[in-house]
Symmetry: C2
């Protein structure tokens, strides 16, 4: 049980990365493989991932997103998107993408990488900026942008446990 919590609590939001550090294609593949192992409504797996290493594009993201300044030192960003085409299940697309994102963050933290989840959906001005920057088709919605890099800051495992959030049988 202790190991289970260690795995999960190792994930912290990291905003300082070793500038220029290499994150290999193999490492990125592991993160995306983890992301795609998430559950989704009707197992429809509505997610897509844009891997961004180009510094000009990372700069452009920082122009759109007011809290993505950590991309300055990140090795790359992953833009998580959802495909809204499936009318039976698309009401759940953001939850599905959130579960995939959480898997990605956990895989990164347990592979020695740092990440920071920056929300895009449901803020229209950010969504519009990402749509244009990445030439997204109409059925594809930007969900979030994840900074990925080699940590240049250390954070202790997080434990936000609060018994006041637990209710028995009813509210």
């Amino acid at each position: 049980m202790d190991d289970v919590l260690k795995f999960i609590q190792r994930r912290r939001s990291i905003r300082q990365y070793q500038k220029g550090a290499e994150v290999s294609e193999g490492q990125v593949e592991t993160l995306l493989r983890a992301a795609m192992s998430a559950p989704s409504a009707g197992n429809q797996q509505p997610w897509h991932f844009i891997v961004v290493r180009d510094r000009a594009k990372l700069e452009a993201i920082m122009q759109i997103h007011p809290y993505a300044g950590m991309l300055k030192t990140a090795s790359l960003a992953v833009v998580v998107c959802g495909d809204l085409s499936n009318e039976s299940f698309n009401r759940y697309w953001a939850q599905d993408c959130a579960a995939a994102t959480q898997n990605l963050l956990l895989a990164a933290a347990n592979s020695g990488l740092g990440t920071c989840w920056c929300g895009v959906h449901p803020r229209p001005e950010r969504e519009e900026g990402f749509r244009k920057l990445f030439a997204l088709p109409g059925n594809i919605a930007p969900f979030a942008v994840i900074a990925v890099g080699v940590p240049a800051e250390q954070k202790a495992p997080a434990d936000y446990y609060d018994p006041a959030r637990i209710h028995s049988e009813t509210w």
Copy 2:
């Protein structure tokens, strides 16, 4: 890296449980501790959890939710709820609850337990049913119900990796 994926891919949707099997309070605490270790917008941790063991209440959930039949053999359910009070961050409440839910599922799978995530939000008829059944205050929204039990079915690790979902630099 292999171990990282093993941890994440061990989670599968389990719908058959050993009827009457004990899931201890300590095990439930570990699951909720994992859930509360998720990231959230502005670190506002908008989640609440109702632990339901009462069979009459579990039956009532099955009356509201058409796809929660696996609760018949589950040891308990966790109803994940979000607190919408914080106007600066409440647009992200469902994503935050999804990340917490994913942590809970991963902790369960790696503790020998099985789970199944049943969506409630954003289906008005299910939300209304849960609101009434659990006497939720107006600022609290039901997000999902998670069945928890000791598995009575085995599933191999999931690997849904699909390179077609990965894009480089742009769509």
